[in-house]
Symmetry: C2
Subunit: 181 residues, 2 copies
């Protein structure tokens, strides 16, 4: 499923090295501007977020970061993530059911949300890029950003059974009783 362009060296430490550098550079700059210390934890969380395209939860990131910074606490990951969002380096994305998810802040992109497995995939669209938002000024709203949210079935789930497994409804059986009252 996840398929990396294999143009770079295949050494794990190289894959995505440039994006990581860029991100860390932006972090350093942002922190300096605000007078915030650049801590190992902040660097590590950001570094863990960069290569991911699966919108990890705070806990996912905690787990990942724990490998680089063994003693890090969950609390810190939460706090760092909030800071990164505040600094504009990351985004907290909506994810109905379960907790918050995060992603590195990139250019405009949209979300495909699978109703079955709950995964979220990104997609971009030059066509949509040109989309002119309706006169939201009429609503008195000051637009900061926007994106498209698409729900449906991801490729994987499309292949699998049609029956949704998470519904708590009983059997939608043919119990079509005749009307009584």
């Amino acid at each position: 499923m996840v398929k990396y362009a294999n143009a770079m060296s295949s050494r794990a430490s190289h894959r995505g090295a440039r994006p990581v550098e860029n991100a860390l550079g932006r972090l350093a700059r942002a922190c300096r501007e605000r007078g915030l210390p650049v801590t190992v934890q902040r660097r590590a969380v950001l570094e863990a977020l960069v290569p991911r395209d699966d919108h990890p939860s705070a806990d996912d990131l905690f787990e990942a970061v724990s490998r680089t910074v063994p003693g890090i606490s969950r609390t810190t990951v939460y706090r760092v993530l909030e800071t990164l969002v505040d600094l504009g380096l990351a985004s907290r994305i909506s994810h109905p059911g379960g907790g918050a998810r995060f992603e590195l802040r990139r250019g405009r992109h949209h979300h495909l949300h699978c109703a079955r497995c709950g995964c979220v995939k990104d997609f971009t669209s030059p066509a949509l890029e040109a989309l002119e938002l309706p006169r939201l000024a009429a609503h008195g709203f000051e637009v900061d950003d926007w994106s498209l949210h698409v729900t449906g079935l991801c490729a994987d789930c499309r292949g699998r059974s049609r029956r949704t497994s998470k519904s708590r409804l009983p059997n939608p059986s043919r119990s079509e009783k005749g009307e009584k009252r």
Copy 2:
């Protein structure tokens, strides 16, 4: 699509009577189809949801419904809401930070999400209605529904101070006080 002519009586008890009836009718039908009992709680929760356009949380609805069905439990409200979503009568909408929000299922509409106060306003757009989604098939995705999510500042918040009050960042050099909670 959902356009109410103001042709009805202005008595409070009448306002929105038709939509409520419609919704209850759909509930009865949906339940009958699935062989589910139409309980007072299900009717009450749906009835409480119909007139609202503020995307109430489960707890908001619990409070509202408690007035009509005094003994109802929070648990039941949660369960009923899930059922309503499963039945296609309501939607659970993403709401980063805080819990899930719900809305009556209507035609396509989009969300204005205020970054300051967290409120969510709906808007519709015939122009967007005609929007052709990019070839998502390329992603193997089967589209069920889609909507636009716009973030920014709502009319109310635009009027107020520019400083965001929820940031946990220290002073961005110049401390601009005057913000409470």
